[in-house]
Symmetry: C2
Amino acid sequence: METNRFRTLISEGRLKATKQREKILNIFLKSSGHQNLAQIYSQVAKENPKIGYSTVYRTLKLLTRFGMAAQRKFVDGETRYEPIAGGSHHDHLVCLDCGNIIEFENETLEILQNNIAQQYRFKISHHRMELYGRCADCELKKEIRRRKR
Amino acid sequence: METNRFRTLISEGRLKATKQREKILNIFLKSSGHQNLAQIYSQVAKENPKIGYSTVYRTLKLLTRFGMAAQRKFVDGETRYEPIAGGSHHDHLVCLDCGNIIEFENETLEILQNNIAQQYRFKISHHRMELYGRCADCELKKEIRRRKR
DNA sequence: CTTAATGCAAAAACTTTGCAGTAGA
DNA sequence: TCTACTGCAAAGTTTTTGCATTAAG
Protein backbone atom coordinates (compact mmCIF):
# COMPACT_ATOMS: atom_id res chain seq x y z
CA MET A 1 0.00 0.00 0.00
CA GLU A 2 1.19 3.49 -0.85
CA THR A 3 0.57 4.76 2.65
CA ASN A 4 3.19 2.39 4.03
CA ARG A 5 5.73 3.48 1.49
CA PHE A 6 5.03 7.04 2.55
CA ARG A 7 5.49 6.23 6.23
CA THR A 8 8.76 4.49 5.54
CA LEU A 9 10.10 7.46 3.60
CA ILE A 10 8.94 9.78 6.35
CA SER A 11 10.76 7.91 9.08
CA GLU A 12 13.86 7.43 6.95
CA GLY A 13 14.06 11.19 6.64
CA ARG A 14 13.43 11.67 10.34
CA LEU A 15 10.31 13.56 9.45
CA LYS A 16 6.92 13.31 11.06
CA ALA A 17 3.83 11.44 9.98
CA THR A 18 1.02 13.82 10.81
CA LYS A 19 -2.68 13.34 10.26
CA GLN A 20 -2.68 16.26 7.86
CA ARG A 21 -0.10 14.63 5.66
CA GLU A 22 -1.92 11.32 5.65
CA LYS A 23 -5.23 12.94 4.86
CA ILE A 24 -3.70 14.87 1.97
CA LEU A 25 -1.95 11.77 0.68
CA ASN A 26 -5.14 9.73 0.75
CA ILE A 27 -7.21 12.31 -1.02
CA PHE A 28 -4.47 12.81 -3.55
CA LEU A 29 -4.17 9.08 -4.28
CA LYS A 30 -7.91 8.60 -4.59
CA SER A 31 -8.19 11.64 -6.87
CA SER A 32 -8.58 11.43 -10.60
CA GLY A 33 -5.09 12.80 -11.00
CA HIS A 34 -4.25 15.89 -13.02
CA GLN A 35 -5.57 18.30 -10.44
CA ASN A 36 -4.05 21.59 -9.54
CA LEU A 37 -3.20 22.66 -6.04
CA ALA A 38 -6.39 24.64 -5.52
CA GLN A 39 -8.48 21.63 -6.52
CA ILE A 40 -6.63 19.30 -4.20
CA TYR A 41 -6.86 21.84 -1.42
CA SER A 42 -10.61 22.24 -1.85
CA GLN A 43 -11.11 18.48 -1.55
CA VAL A 44 -8.97 18.39 1.54
CA ALA A 45 -10.84 21.34 3.01
CA LYS A 46 -14.14 19.58 2.44
CA GLU A 47 -13.04 16.78 4.76
CA ASN A 48 -11.07 18.88 7.16
CA PRO A 49 -11.38 22.66 6.84
CA LYS A 50 -8.70 23.17 9.45
CA ILE A 51 -5.94 22.08 7.11
CA GLY A 52 -4.25 25.09 5.55
CA TYR A 53 -3.36 25.75 1.96
CA SER A 54 0.34 25.86 2.72
CA THR A 55 0.24 22.44 4.32
CA VAL A 56 -1.24 21.02 1.15
CA TYR A 57 1.36 22.90 -0.84
CA ARG A 58 4.20 21.61 1.29
CA THR A 59 2.89 18.07 1.35
CA LEU A 60 2.63 17.90 -2.42
CA LYS A 61 6.16 19.22 -2.60
CA LEU A 62 7.23 16.51 -0.20
CA LEU A 63 5.45 13.84 -2.24
CA THR A 64 7.20 15.11 -5.33
CA ARG A 65 10.53 14.82 -3.55
CA PHE A 66 9.56 11.29 -2.54
CA GLY A 67 8.78 10.45 -6.15
CA MET A 68 5.18 9.73 -5.27
CA ALA A 69 3.78 12.73 -7.13
CA ALA A 70 4.70 14.58 -10.28
CA GLN A 71 4.11 18.15 -11.20
CA ARG A 72 2.92 18.49 -14.77
CA LYS A 73 2.08 21.39 -16.97
CA PHE A 74 -0.10 20.96 -20.00
CA VAL A 75 -0.65 23.56 -22.70
CA ASP A 76 -3.40 25.30 -20.82
CA GLY A 77 -0.70 26.50 -18.46
CA GLU A 78 -2.14 24.90 -15.35
CA THR A 79 0.26 23.24 -12.95
CA ARG A 80 -1.23 19.93 -12.00
CA TYR A 81 -0.18 17.12 -9.72
CA GLU A 82 -0.45 13.50 -10.55
CA PRO A 83 0.13 10.44 -8.36
CA ILE A 84 2.94 8.19 -9.52
CA ALA A 85 2.02 4.55 -9.28
CA GLY A 86 5.15 2.47 -8.82
CA GLY A 87 6.63 1.32 -12.10
CA SER A 88 4.06 1.82 -14.83
CA HIS A 89 4.67 4.82 -17.00
CA HIS A 90 1.89 6.44 -18.95
CA ASP A 91 1.35 9.41 -21.22
CA HIS A 92 -1.61 11.64 -21.96
CA LEU A 93 -4.29 12.41 -24.47
CA VAL A 94 -5.64 15.88 -23.80
CA CYS A 95 -8.97 16.96 -25.25
CA LEU A 96 -8.81 20.59 -26.27
CA ASP A 97 -12.60 20.91 -26.23
CA CYS A 98 -13.61 19.52 -22.85
CA GLY A 99 -10.22 19.50 -21.16
CA ASN A 100 -10.44 15.83 -20.27
CA ILE A 101 -7.18 13.99 -19.87
CA ILE A 102 -6.93 10.31 -20.75
CA GLU A 103 -3.95 8.21 -19.81
CA PHE A 104 -2.38 5.66 -22.10
CA GLU A 105 0.56 3.31 -22.16
CA ASN A 106 2.59 2.46 -25.22
CA GLU A 107 5.58 0.21 -25.42
CA THR A 108 6.74 1.37 -28.83
CA LEU A 109 7.09 4.83 -27.41
CA GLU A 110 9.56 3.55 -24.85
CA ILE A 111 11.62 1.91 -27.54
CA LEU A 112 11.50 4.99 -29.74
CA GLN A 113 12.65 7.13 -26.85
CA ASN A 114 15.78 5.04 -26.52
CA ASN A 115 16.53 5.23 -30.23
CA ILE A 116 16.31 8.99 -30.28
CA ALA A 117 18.39 9.29 -27.15
CA GLN A 118 21.10 7.14 -28.66
CA GLN A 119 21.20 9.31 -31.75
CA TYR A 120 21.99 12.38 -29.65
CA ARG A 121 24.13 10.54 -27.14
CA PHE A 122 21.62 11.54 -24.51
CA LYS A 123 21.22 9.59 -21.31
CA ILE A 124 17.46 9.45 -20.82
CA SER A 125 15.87 9.38 -17.42
CA HIS A 126 12.28 9.73 -18.50
CA HIS A 127 10.01 11.21 -21.11
CA ARG A 128 6.72 12.87 -21.49
CA MET A 129 4.35 12.69 -24.40
CA GLU A 130 1.09 14.49 -24.83
CA LEU A 131 -1.32 14.21 -27.71
CA TYR A 132 -3.68 17.12 -28.14
CA GLY A 133 -6.91 17.00 -30.05
CA ARG A 134 -10.56 16.19 -29.68
CA CYS A 135 -11.90 13.19 -27.79
CA ALA A 136 -14.50 10.82 -29.23
CA ASP A 137 -17.30 12.38 -27.16
CA CYS A 138 -16.57 15.92 -28.23
CA GLU A 139 -16.16 14.84 -31.83
CA LEU A 140 -19.59 13.22 -31.65
CA LYS A 141 -21.15 16.31 -30.08
CA LYS A 142 -19.65 18.42 -32.79
CA GLU A 143 -21.11 16.05 -35.42
CA ILE A 144 -24.57 16.35 -33.94
CA ARG A 145 -24.34 20.11 -33.78
CA ARG A 146 -23.29 20.14 -37.41
CA ARG A 147 -26.27 18.06 -38.48
CA LYS A 148 -28.78 20.31 -36.69
CA ARG A 149 -27.69 23.29 -38.76
CA MET B 1 9.67 35.83 -44.97
CA GLU B 2 7.93 35.57 -41.63
CA THR B 3 7.50 39.32 -41.33
CA ASN B 4 5.26 39.35 -44.38
CA ARG B 5 3.14 36.59 -43.01
CA PHE B 6 2.79 38.61 -39.84
CA ARG B 7 1.76 41.75 -41.76
CA THR B 8 -0.84 39.81 -43.70
CA LEU B 9 -2.36 38.37 -40.56
CA ILE B 10 -2.34 41.82 -38.97
CA SER B 11 -4.22 43.44 -41.82
CA GLU B 12 -6.63 40.53 -42.11
CA GLY B 13 -7.57 41.11 -38.51
CA ARG B 14 -7.84 44.88 -39.03
CA LEU B 15 -5.11 45.28 -36.50
CA LYS B 16 -2.17 47.62 -36.70
CA ALA B 17 1.41 46.92 -37.65
CA THR B 18 3.42 48.98 -35.20
CA LYS B 19 7.17 49.30 -34.94
CA GLN B 20 7.01 47.78 -31.49
CA ARG B 21 5.35 44.65 -32.80
CA GLU B 22 7.82 44.30 -35.62
CA LYS B 23 10.79 44.80 -33.34
CA ILE B 24 9.49 42.19 -30.91
CA LEU B 25 8.77 39.78 -33.74
CA ASN B 26 12.25 40.16 -35.18
CA ILE B 27 14.01 39.67 -31.91
CA PHE B 28 11.79 36.72 -31.13
CA LEU B 29 12.46 35.05 -34.49
CA LYS B 30 16.21 35.57 -34.24
CA SER B 31 16.24 34.25 -30.69
CA SER B 32 17.40 30.79 -29.72
CA GLY B 33 13.85 29.85 -28.85
CA HIS B 34 12.78 28.51 -25.46
CA GLN B 35 12.98 31.85 -23.75
CA ASN B 36 10.64 33.14 -21.14
CA LEU B 37 8.89 36.46 -21.29
CA ALA B 38 11.40 38.24 -19.09
CA GLN B 39 14.26 37.10 -21.30
CA ILE B 40 12.55 38.24 -24.46
CA TYR B 41 11.64 41.52 -22.84
CA SER B 42 15.20 42.18 -21.75
CA GLN B 43 16.47 41.67 -25.28
CA VAL B 44 13.82 43.99 -26.61
CA ALA B 45 14.63 46.56 -23.95
CA LYS B 46 18.29 46.43 -24.94
CA GLU B 47 17.41 47.66 -28.42
CA ASN B 48 14.55 49.91 -27.44
CA PRO B 49 14.08 50.61 -23.74
CA LYS B 50 10.87 52.50 -24.44
CA ILE B 51 8.97 49.33 -25.23
CA GLY B 52 7.00 48.16 -22.21
CA TYR B 53 6.74 44.74 -20.70
CA SER B 54 3.02 44.55 -21.40
CA THR B 55 3.57 45.22 -25.07
CA VAL B 56 5.95 42.29 -25.25
CA TYR B 57 3.45 40.20 -23.32
CA ARG B 58 0.60 41.17 -25.61
CA THR B 59 2.61 40.71 -28.76
CA LEU B 60 3.67 37.20 -27.79
CA LYS B 61 0.06 36.44 -27.07
CA LEU B 62 -0.86 37.76 -30.50
CA LEU B 63 1.84 35.66 -32.12
CA THR B 64 0.52 32.64 -30.33
CA ARG B 65 -2.95 33.39 -31.64
CA PHE B 66 -1.45 33.72 -35.11
CA GLY B 67 0.21 30.34 -34.74
CA MET B 68 3.64 31.92 -35.06
CA ALA B 69 4.67 31.26 -31.49
CA ALA B 70 4.00 28.53 -28.97
CA GLN B 71 3.92 28.71 -25.25
CA ARG B 72 5.66 25.74 -23.71
CA LYS B 73 6.18 24.59 -20.19
CA PHE B 74 8.91 22.14 -19.34
CA VAL B 75 9.34 20.39 -16.04
CA ASP B 76 11.24 23.26 -14.47
CA GLY B 77 7.93 25.11 -14.49
CA GLU B 78 9.15 28.02 -16.62
CA THR B 79 6.80 29.27 -19.29
CA ARG B 80 8.80 29.71 -22.45
CA TYR B 81 7.98 30.89 -25.93
CA GLU B 82 9.21 29.29 -29.08
CA PRO B 83 8.92 30.46 -32.70
CA ILE B 84 6.98 28.12 -34.94
CA ALA B 85 8.60 27.73 -38.31
CA GLY B 86 5.95 26.90 -40.89
CA GLY B 87 5.38 23.18 -41.31
CA SER B 88 8.23 21.38 -39.62
CA HIS B 89 7.37 19.93 -36.27
CA HIS B 90 10.00 19.12 -33.73
CA ASP B 91 10.25 17.84 -30.19
CA HIS B 92 12.71 18.34 -27.37
CA LEU B 93 15.53 16.75 -25.48
CA VAL B 94 15.95 18.53 -22.16
CA CYS B 95 19.16 18.19 -20.18
CA LEU B 96 18.36 18.07 -16.49
CA ASP B 97 21.93 19.04 -15.58
CA CYS B 98 22.63 22.12 -17.68
CA GLY B 99 19.08 22.95 -18.72
CA ASN B 100 19.94 22.96 -22.40
CA ILE B 101 17.16 22.15 -24.80
CA ILE B 102 17.90 20.33 -28.05
CA GLU B 103 15.35 20.07 -30.81
CA PHE B 104 14.82 16.94 -32.84
CA GLU B 105 12.53 15.65 -35.54
CA ASN B 106 11.30 12.11 -35.83
CA GLU B 107 8.96 10.70 -38.41
CA THR B 108 8.17 7.51 -36.55
CA LEU B 109 6.83 9.60 -33.75
CA GLU B 110 4.29 11.17 -36.08
CA ILE B 111 3.14 7.76 -37.22
CA LEU B 112 2.95 6.46 -33.69
CA GLN B 113 0.87 9.46 -32.68
CA ASN B 114 -1.73 8.56 -35.27
CA ASN B 115 -1.85 4.93 -34.19
CA ILE B 116 -2.47 5.83 -30.59
CA ALA B 117 -5.07 8.41 -31.55
CA GLN B 118 -6.95 5.86 -33.60
CA GLN B 119 -6.99 3.44 -30.70
CA TYR B 120 -8.78 5.98 -28.53
CA ARG B 121 -10.86 7.46 -31.35
CA PHE B 122 -9.12 10.74 -30.72
CA LYS B 123 -8.84 13.36 -33.40
CA ILE B 124 -5.28 14.63 -33.02
CA SER B 125 -4.32 18.18 -33.79
CA HIS B 126 -0.75 18.02 -32.54
CA HIS B 127 1.51 16.41 -30.02
CA ARG B 128 4.36 17.21 -27.77
CA MET B 129 7.18 14.96 -26.70
CA GLU B 130 9.97 15.72 -24.32
CA LEU B 131 12.86 13.47 -23.37
CA TYR B 132 14.54 14.30 -20.10
CA GLY B 133 17.98 13.20 -19.13
CA ARG B 134 21.62 14.16 -19.39
CA CYS B 135 23.23 15.54 -22.54
CA ALA B 136 26.50 14.19 -23.93
CA ASP B 137 28.49 17.15 -22.57
CA CYS B 138 27.19 16.82 -19.05
CA GLU B 139 27.65 13.07 -19.13
CA LEU B 140 31.27 13.61 -20.13
CA LYS B 141 31.82 16.19 -17.41
CA LYS B 142 30.37 13.80 -14.90
CA GLU B 143 32.73 11.06 -16.15
CA ILE B 144 35.74 13.31 -15.71
CA ARG B 145 34.68 14.33 -12.25
CA ARG B 146 34.28 10.69 -11.36
CA ARG B 147 37.80 9.81 -12.53
CA LYS B 148 39.39 12.60 -10.51
CA ARG B 149 38.05 11.16 -7.29
C1' DC C 1 -10.68 61.33 -38.00
C1' DT C 2 -11.33 56.68 -35.76
C1' DT C 3 -9.93 53.10 -33.50
C1' DA C 4 -6.31 49.99 -32.11
C1' DA C 5 -1.90 49.85 -29.59
C1' DT C 6 1.27 51.49 -26.11
C1' DG C 7 3.26 52.26 -21.49
C1' DC C 8 2.59 52.78 -17.05
C1' DA C 9 1.02 51.45 -12.86
C1' DA C 10 -1.86 48.78 -10.42
C1' DA C 11 -4.63 44.51 -9.80
C1' DA C 12 -5.02 39.67 -9.93
C1' DA C 13 -3.46 35.14 -9.66
C1' DC C 14 -0.23 32.01 -8.06
C1' DT C 15 3.68 30.45 -5.21
C1' DT C 16 6.52 30.55 -1.40
C1' DT C 17 8.04 31.77 3.35
C1' DG C 18 8.53 33.53 8.46
C1' DC C 19 7.02 32.70 12.73
C1' DA C 20 4.59 31.67 16.97
C1' DG C 21 1.91 27.97 18.55
C1' DT C 22 1.09 22.72 18.31
C1' DA C 23 1.98 18.06 18.30
C1' DG C 24 4.66 13.88 16.77
C1' DA C 25 8.80 10.90 18.04
C1' DT D 1 11.71 17.05 26.00
C1' DC D 2 13.11 18.27 21.38
C1' DT D 3 12.37 19.35 16.88
C1' DA D 4 9.55 19.14 12.94
C1' DC D 5 4.92 20.59 11.32
C1' DT D 6 0.93 23.53 11.00
C1' DG D 7 -1.83 27.60 9.96
C1' DC D 8 -2.03 32.11 9.24
C1' DA D 9 -0.75 36.10 7.22
C1' DA D 10 2.32 38.29 4.64
C1' DA D 11 5.82 38.56 0.97
C1' DG D 12 7.32 37.12 -3.48
C1' DT D 13 6.57 36.09 -8.37
C1' DT D 14 4.45 36.16 -12.61
C1' DT D 15 0.63 37.17 -15.47
C1' DT D 16 -3.18 40.36 -16.73
C1' DT D 17 -5.75 44.57 -17.10
C1' DG D 18 -7.59 49.66 -16.91
C1' DC D 19 -6.82 53.85 -18.73
C1' DA D 20 -5.07 58.10 -20.61
C1' DT D 21 -2.06 59.06 -24.45
C1' DT D 22 -0.11 58.09 -28.94
C1' DA D 23 0.02 56.67 -33.55
C1' DA D 24 -1.44 53.62 -37.51
C1' DG D 25 -4.85 53.09 -41.14
